[in-house]
């Protein structure tokens, strides 16, 4: 939980402590079991058949933890899962990244990983939509597709032998993201789900939860209209005409602030939770910039504590 230098007065501090305490007590007891630190031996039954996974190493015949975290056992695999890990990519993850460099036939993106991800020119759809071999002219026109500091959404295609990532953006829903905000949250707050692209119709806003902790909140773009090839002058005039309407901008800001508050509190980010927080702020008439203030912070913590307590009570009652 990062300290955002909120100046809480005494009552707010007390309320926050109470809410956090309740959340801690509601947390499943499994999480506190088998927490290891570096150089703790992990007890294993049959020494010879155990697969030693990430975060473990074999020293003097014993399985020793090399990371601090929780011991997980799956069949014959024993590994240590860190709770506050850096982003660990898997094939098929949806990623949001920012272009930092254009290299021969590829773009390099920064994605909050130990190395930069690479998006090859051949893994990207050309603007005219034809499937053809990339020529030298295409290579020279790479800047017309993506430039430095553009925000891009892509999917992990695989790993290189040196550990760097290869991305692909061949589908219509991937590509350059415009008219919105990019938020950076700790990657362990975004869990892998079936869907990472969310279109919120009531606000006309797209919400993309990248698995690397980069979250995009932006105006909704109708898929299929992206492949318009407009000339230089034409583009200026069309953009001058359709600015994002003020209502949509307010919704984008509210959603972004809701994500900021939730990430500061350390809650797992799901679409339902973000929308619920945003609606709570709208219904209680909190100003958009006040959402980052102390009062809303404490209220969100209390609301989530109550919500989880209700869920637990319902589960216990149904049993």
């Amino acid at each position: 939980m990062k300290d955002r230098h909120l100046s809480l007065n005494q009552t707010q501090r007390v309320r926050l402590e109470a809410a956090l305490h309740e959340l801690q007590s509601l947390a499943p007891a499994i999480a506190s079991a088998a927490a290891v630190t570096v150089a703790d031996t992990i007890p294993v039954n049959q020494e010879d058949n155990i697969l030693k996974g990430h975060g473990t190493s074999d020293q003097d015949g014993e399985v020793v933890a090399t990371l601090c975290g929780v011991v997980e056992r799956v069949n014959k695999l024993v590994y240590v899962r860190t709770l506050r890990a850096r982003y660990k990519p898997e094939v098929g993850d949806i990623i949001v990244g920012r272009v930092i460099e254009i290299a021969p036939k590829r773009w390099r993106l920064e994605i909050n990983f130990s190395q930069d991800a690479v998006l090859m020119l051949s893994s990207m759809n050309l603007p005219d939509g034809i499937q053809r071999r990339r020529t030298a002219v295409d290579e020279l026109n790479m800047r017309s597709i993506f430039e430095e500091n553009d925000v891009i959404c892509a999917e992990v295609r695989g790993f290189q032998h040196d550990g760097s990532l290869h991305l692909q953006a061949r589908s219509e829903k991937y590509g350059k993201l415009e008219r919105g905000q990019l938020l950076m949250v700790p990657p362990y707050l975004v869990k892998r789900k079936k869907q990472h692209f969310h279109h919120l119709e009531q606000y006309n806003v797209d919400l993309i939860l990248g698995c690397n902790g980069f979250i995009w909140v932006g105006e909704h773009v109708v898929v299929g209209e992206k492949t318009k090839t407009t000339g230089g002058q034409q583009r200026f005039s069309t953009e001058a005409e359709n600015f994002t309407p003020l209502e949509t901008r307010k919704h984008i800001c509210r959603l972004a602030n809701a994500v900021r508050v939730l990430s500061a509190l350390g809650f797992t980010l799901t679409v339902e939770l973000i929308i619920e927080t945003m609606e709570a702020s709208a219904s209680s008439n909190v100003e958009i910039n006040d959402m980052l203030g102390a009062e809303f912070y404490v209220q969100t913590a209390e609301r989530e504590a109550k919500h989880r307590a209700d869920l637990l009570r319902k589960k216990n009652g149904a049993r």
Partner: protein
């Protein structure tokens, strides 16, 4: 000068009160602020970052240390600290997990009251653990001084270091503990754990040296328990 009458009334085997704050810096991947009495060091870890330096082996990860003194320009003493720290940290980290990467450790001296190098080693080890860099074991460092009358004192402050005949900074690996050991007072076998680094200043006899190591091992288990408790708190302290 008797070994018994130390500055704050400490006995020869008593360490100064130490504290460790986890992750005070938000932009670093891992950071720790380790304080031992008046000596305070802030360590920040960034990485692993892609690419290695020119002379380094690309099949292993490399560690780069930057030491920032409290006052004054960076000179030979700071370079010596950087090299010592780099060698120590390279021996405790698992270098084959992220090949061809560089991990930077930046140290800032906030206060210096003796035993600066041990404090810095403890701080950087804690910062590496908070950053999630896999390590074989934690490095626990302690400073020992040999006085004129042959008495050995632990955790020397600046005045004692100047008066001592010789002093040594020792770095030990921390003790291993089983995860669910039902016996809380289980005595771990510290016999052959070994010594990671040792930097001595001044001349000391063999007996004094082994004496220092013995006392150091005993004290290092206390510090290693403290480190383990701090790391456990950080690991399990999340909503």
């Amino acid at each position: 000068m008797e070994g018994g009458s130390r500055a704050e009334g400490r006995n020869p085997n008593q360490l100064r009160p130490f504290s460790c704050t986890g992750n005070p810096l938000h932009r670093a991947h891992g950071s720790a602020r380790w304080a031992q009495g008046g000596t305070i060091v802030l360590a920040a870890v960034y990485g692993p970052k892609p690419g290695t330096r020119k002379g380094e082996n690309p099949e292993k990860a490399s560690i780069e240390v930057v030491w920032k003194p409290k006052t004054g320009q960076i000179g030979r003493q700071e370079r010596e600290y950087e090299t010592t720290l780099k060698r120590t940290l390279q021996s405790i980290c698992l270098l084959t997990v992220h090949p061809n990467t560089t991990t930077s450790v930046v140290l800032q001296v906030v206060g210096d009251d003796g035993s600066l190098l041990p404090c810095a080693i403890n701080a950087s080890c804690a910062a590496l653990a908070f950053a999630g860099i896999p390590m074989k074991h934690l490095a626990v460092a302690i400073g020992c001084g040999v006085m004129d009358n042959g008495a050995v004192i632990l955790d020397t402050n600046t005045a004692e270091e100047q008066q001592a005949k010789s002093f040594a900074h020792l770095v030990f690996p921390n003790s291993r503990k089983s995860v669910d050991s039902k016996d809380p007072t289980q005595k771990d076998e510290e016999s052959e754990r070994g010594l990671i680094s040792c930097i001595t200043h001044g001349a000391m006899s063999e007996d004094d040296y082994f004496n220092c190591i013995e006392r150091g091992v005993a004290a290092s288990s206390k510090i290693s328990d403290f480190m383990r408790k701090t790391l456990q708190k950080e690991v399990s302290g999340d909503a």
